[in-house]
Amino acid sequence: MSVLVFAEGSEGEIKKSSHEAISYAAEVAKRNNSTVTAVVIGAYPAAPLESLGKYGATKVLHVNNDKLNQPLVLPYASVVAEAAKKENADLVVLPKSSVVDAMVSRLAAKLGAGLVTNVIDLPDTSSGFKVKRSIFTGKAFASVEITSPVKVITVAKNAYPVTETGGNASVESFSPSISDDDFKVALKSVEKATGDVLLTEADIVVSGGRGLKGPENWHLVTDLAKALGAATGCSKPVSDLDWRPHHEHVGQTGVKVSPNLYIALGISGAIQHLAGVNSSKVIVVVNKDPEAPFFKAADYGIVGDVFEVVPKLIEAAKALK
């Protein structure tokens, strides 16, 4: 079984979720006496590419083409498909990300491969190739068999730990053929919050709900997040009311997060909010209502007023360092 991993990053650094995907692929390859090749698209210095060897990639295909310096869904699908064919990969592993979510089904269709997204565990290869995936927005799991010869999977964030095993990877430059058809969608501009920890990549998330009463109180959320090195999130009404940008909205209809620690401040814990956070490792809830449904899904709780409790938490978090 030859394994190809799509590794992704930004500003010259590969993301942690890609390190997780390579670690995952390396374990699958090891069990099948095979090796892992990673494909990376964009301008990167040699060091972060070579260091993918640490997580188990023996080779890195580096695509450095001016037309592909920004993540573009259609050409990325074509490039990864071409890399998979070149490497005769029978398994392609991708991390979860906004570009992967949009391109992975096109990639699978190009390869005639069966595809499973949101995979949360190593495959069972004792007979056939079976993986476990999360469905019903984290409310259940399914065991799915991929029966096609070539298989594509995306690995959920935090489903497999970053594991350092190997040394350096050899870096090869790879120049795929790029078709004009793949540039029918023109990227006009990007609006991105800078300097913040990304919600989808964060190990700790601090979220605020309507209990915070208004955007003018959001420093409680951001200060606590800052003290913990966390990303900030919010409930749906908070983004509907424009207190916070839409990309921070967590839940069924928003971002699904799976950090090590999720801290909810003044959020009731409606089932649709829980759907986006229920794969977090540890959940902490601060709510003044002891009957708030969120406590049923939490590991630790404080019944109290956010305006009294959170300033103390911020002080305590600062003292942690």
Binding site: V99, S105, A109, F141, A186, V282, K296, E308
Partner: protein, 245 residues
């Protein structure tokens, strides 16, 4: 503008999820079914565009006869006609092949869908349909405007959004805040009963994934309470007991 909106028929977001037949089948007893919430955003935007620019909105569902009330609801919201592909939606590949087969002959300007279905949460159908038809697919789209012969869209990305532009035809996977959900009015509900709903048989698709069994997550233990007068204790527990700091 000739618009196709693909809708899934899914358990209401508050449904209790359980399985039967030795955990090989979803237990639909007592479950309320709805139009997928993302799909409803797609439908609402399609109806708005039709109202602004003229044209038609067709809804398509791949499902057995029990999905017809959900399809009628989409007609009540403002779609003009509907197609049901008479088959159980086995997986995203199967659904996408059915949609592509219909789109091939009908030549829609836009095919709008939800960013993902809320049962299987695959988020795959739009990309597959785009690939099968050889046209662009964009997802998740939070803003969609028609400007002359182009469509301008905002796509959500990590930590923000990007603006893209494309020509027709294309496929888009939609999410909020692309439009407000529309509540059907009495006239809509009445007229939905007589709007055309065509039933077609599926095309054959080679299967490459198989759902074997289901399970529920392990129940959560009790929540440990920390006294509000000493919240600093929380970090002690997170550090030394939960070991997440």
């Amino acid at each position: 503008m000739k618009i196709l909106v693909c809708i899934s028929h899914v358990p209401d977001t508050t449904s209790k999820i359980t399985f039967t037949d030795n955990n090989t089948k979803f237990n639909s007893a007592g479950v309320q079914y709805i139009i997928g919430p993302y799909d409803e955003y797609a439908l609402s935007r399609a109806v708005e565009i039709k109202e602004e620019k003229g044209g038609t909105v067709t809804v398509l569902n791949v499902g057995e006869a029990d999905t017809e009330p959900t399809i009628r609801k989409a007609l009540a919201i403002g779609a003009d006609d509907a197609i049901r592909v008479n088959a159980f939606p086995k997986d995203a590949f199967f659904v996408a092949k059915q949609i592509a087969a219909i789109a091939q002959s009908e030549k829609y300007d836009m095919i709008l869908m939800g960013r993902e279905s809320i049962d299987y949460n695959s988020g795959l159908v739009h990309g597959l349909v785009g690939e099968y038809l050889g046209i662009p697919s964009i997802s998740p789209v939070m803003k969609l405007d028609i400007e002359g012969d182009k469509a301008v869209m905002a796509r959500e990305i990590e930590g923000g959004k990007e603006y893209v532009e494309t020509t027709f035809p294309f496929v888009a996977g939609c999410q909020e805040p692309i439009a407000e959900w529309k509540i059907p009015n009495m006239r809509g509900i009445m007229s939905a009963r007589t709007k055309p709903l065509k039933v077609v048989e599926p095309v054959a698709v080679e299967e490459n994934t198989k759902y074997l069994s289901y399970e529920l997550p392990a129940p959560k233990g009790a929540c440990k309470m920390v006294d509000a007068s000493n919240p600093a204790q929380l970090f002690d527990l997170l550090k030394n007991e939960a070991k997440v700091l």
